[in-house]
Amino acid sequence: MSEHTVKSFDEELSHLSNTIARMGGLAEAQLGAALQALGNRDSDLAVRVVAADAQVDELEQEVQHFTVRLLALRQPVAADLRQIVAALKIASELERIADYAANVAKRALVLNQQAAVKPVGAVINLARLVQSILKDIMDAYVEQDVDKAIGVWNRDEEVDDLYTGLFRELITYMMEDPRTITACTHLMFMAKNIERIGDHATNIAETLHFLVVGTPLKGSRPKGPSVEAP
């Protein structure tokens, strides 16, 4: 899009999207580090992930203040308005995503006190999928790529399927060896958190569609994992 007559408004808008991109990068890094802490049984790293969550919260605050200021002072309309509203929404999705990542790290700390259990690998698989979805949606945001956003939106089904399978696997595991119940329960919550990250990435896809096209993303996404999964 061409530039505003008022140049400083352009600078403010690009500052806003840069902040969102930074937040996205941070949330991705937090999730990556939480998985590493889980896979490598690295408690130091887990502690750092938990502590770093505050940075994401801070960025969200910054986005909130900045968007309120832009709304008040620039009275944006059309694509500008959508960009600002979208930034506000995406920032809160990313804040939730980072929260879940921190929660995974917290549980990794607890797991590291227990004997290792096999389904950790399956949780990490689920997380890898969600990680790539998160990366794609943030790329789509930076590139303003609606097709990529729709791709992300459609992949939520894969996450739900994998999550449902993992849930069954964990139940089976616990029934076979009750000594793993504590560890597997944590893994179950981790899986749930990771599945929720996928949902938030899907929300970002919807917001991105609205941002770029100006209309909501239509059609119903298969909502949530089915059957016995909570």
């Binding site: 061409s2 007559t5 944006p76 308005l81 959508r82």
Partner: protein
């Protein structure tokens, strides 16, 4: 939305062209205006907003160089029909201008002027009734009730503009045209006029030219964007300000022009 598209339009403009001498000021404009809606005309200076407005009450007739072609109807009647009495037309189509222009008469006589010319009141009591109702509807009565004999020009700018609105509605027009009615007013007076516009919508249909995008967004149900004499885009105001379809509209309303 405010109107039902199935109802016939209050004003229907088809292929309206206006030339001032060689200057093609308005080009092939098609626009429907529905009863009880406020339509805002926006666009850069010189794009033809006032020209379009002046077609509707045939004010362009007074400009020697102006030539208007196309079809313009009010409730289905051709506004440019030979048989149309322009004085009668202007009773049906009132106008409020950029600068408040009260007559050098008392507040009462300013409002009574139109009803007198058009013989709308049989006696003084009826005239009083019309004047009071009009002042009331224009949100001015409380402020001027005790000073109806004072000159209209003694009022503040915002009050003068509401007086002009009272004067316009005193003849019970169906349509009110407003050409940048708030550009000479401060924000409070502007807010009062905007609130008034919203109230008047119940009884009248309003077309307003405004330079303020926020004003268009606040007062209108539909917005029409003009550029270089062409009607580029018209739509529900909400759509125009959240998701304009034409790049020129987008450029103009977001301040990315030229």
């Amino acid at each position: 939305m405010s109107h039902s598209p199935s109802l016939p339009a209050k004003v229907r403009a088809r292929d309206i062209n206006v030339h001032y001498g060689d200057k093609h000021a308005l080009k092939h404009v098609d626009l429907d205006i529905h009863a009880h809606e406020v339509v805002a005309l926006i666009g850069p200076s010189g794009c033809g907003k006032s020209t379009f407005l002046r077609c509707i009450n045939r004010m362009n007739d007074q400009v020697d160089s102006a030539r208007v072609t196309g079809l313009l109807t009010l409730d289905g009647d051709d506004i440019y029909d030979r048989a149309v009495d322009v004085v009668q037309l202007r009773a049906r189509v009132g106008m409020v201008f950029q600068k408040p222009n009260p007559f050098p008469k008392s507040i009462f006589d300013n409002v009574a002027y139109g009803p007198r010319i058009h013989g709308m009141a049989r006696d003084q009591a009826e005239l009083d009734e019309i004047v009071m109702t009009s002042l009331e509807r224009a949100g001015l009565l409380a402020e001027v009730r005790d000073r109806l004999d004072e000159p209209g020009t003694s009022l503040s700018g915002g009050q003068q503009q509401r007086l002009c609105i009272a004067r316009a509605i005193a003849v019970s027009p169906e349509l009110i045209l407003m050409d940048e009615p708030c550009s000479a007013l401060d924000p409070i007076a502007t807010a009062r006029v905007e609130e008034l516009i919203d109230e008047l919508r119940e009884n009248f249909t309003i077309v307003i030219v405004t330079h303020s995008m926020q004003q268009a967004a606040r007062v209108s149900q539909r917005t029409a964007f003009f550029h270089l004499g062409e009607l580029v885009e018209v739509g529900d105001t909400e759509q125009i300000f959240t998701n304009p379809q034409h790049p020129l509209t987008q450029g103009y309303i977001t301040g990315r022009f030229g």
